[in-house]
Symmetry: C2
């Protein structure tokens, strides 16, 4: 049975949350001196959530949300020099080196020797393309799909466009909401590799419908063996 393997990008192939965490820390350090006893992370998350429908995902959206939050929580008392530093923090995120997780480079190469690989990644088109180009993984990929939202409709469209039947598709990712639940919903299978920490906007529960069609692995390196067993090798 042929298998087409879907791979999530951020926090599955390469570190992303870590870069956001570092910037969160910088945001707190920069804004904290101008506020009294405020949960800055909570305010920033609220702004992000509010902006999601207008801005979409990605570093540029996040940078705009940082600036907006800084002005809001300080009632405009934040100095423009700090705002300039927030812009710079956003720029540094975009320019940050792509750091693959341990084992990813070799495992992707060995997966590519046996299966067709398609990266399905969410976020800013320009930034995701730039990260893929710098990841060194492009030669191993059959297709790349950069999408604005990873819901069931998106996966249906991606599979149709690639001419792949859902039952031949196995998606690998760190997010239950974006990589596992919607793939199960369209009839595919999925491998969850939990990340260091889940972003609050990515939480989900998997219903009993998906039983027997998804697995959780501790490391990217364990994927080939699982796929071999699925393929009855």
């Amino acid at each position: 049975m042929p298998i087409v393997v879907g791979l999530d990008g951020d926090d599955t192939l390469w570190h992303n949350e870590r870069v956001f965490s570092m910037t969160h820390e910088r945001f707190r350090a920069l804004v904290d001196p101008f506020v009294d006893d405020i949960d800055l992370d909570r305010h920033l998350l609220d702004t992000e959530r509010r902006n999601l429908a207008t801005f979409g995902y990605g570093v540029k959206s996040f940078t705009l949300s940082m600036v907006e939050t800084a002005i809001e929580v300080t009632a405009g008392q934040i100095p423009t020099s700090v705002i300039a530093e927030l812009l710079d923090a956003g720029r540094q995120m975009l320019a940050h080196p792509v750091e693959l997780f341990e084992g990813v480079a070799e495992t992707v190469a060995s997966l590519a020797a046996r299966w067709r690989l398609v990266v399905v990644t969410k976020g800013d088109l320009f930034h995701q393309e730039s990260k893929l180009a710098r990841s060194g993984l492009l030669p191993h990929l059959w297709r790349v799909e950069i999408v604005s939202e990873k819901d069931a409709d998106t996966y249906r469209r991606v599979l149709d466009g690639a001419g792949v039947a859902a039952e031949d598709f196995v998606m690998v990712g760190d997010s239950l909401r974006s990589d596992i639940a919607p793939v199960l919903a369209v009839g595919g299978r999925a491998i969850h590799i939990p990340g260091f920490r889940e972003w609050e906007l990515e939480r989900a529960e998997i219903g009993p419908d998906g039983e027997g069609r998804w697995w959780s692995l501790g490391s990217f390196r364990e994927i080939p063996a699982l796929l071999d067993s699925l393929a009855g090798a």
Copy 2:
């Protein structure tokens, strides 16, 4: 002979430059009181050009460039209330209604009855998808390709992915640099519909190689007749 028609989005199907112009005006009105005798447009364009390689195209990039320019040209003297207004201007651009050019809705419908249509549009994935969804044109489109840059490689990839030969492809757009020159370079044909005003970063010259393979029309409505004549109908 089958023809696949490529359609640019911004300033070909719908108004875009006009929205940017309005925001430019707002930027000038907001920042002008804090500077002496400075060419604000020139400074903003310089910032945009400098940021293009890190940010890519689109409204979010433009908004970040407006904030950066406002801080820079006022040496940090711009009030945060103005920065908040610039963020708001960006948000309004994203939420701005999609206004099709005169004749586009009917012409796209009639083109779709005869040819396969693919929108090839550049910019922010999330915003372009949102504009397409609100344009009402989606039911007429065979494919949608949102790309980060419209160069010859991009068109080659789009045509390969769609299984379309370059000689069967005719691209329609307002930008010589993005819609005409690269399509001629890969062996396709192109129809230029000059816009009201060309963005400075979109200028280009078309070499003699392209002669006989591109045409300039005054209105979107003239496309079907030209395609009919190309197809020998």
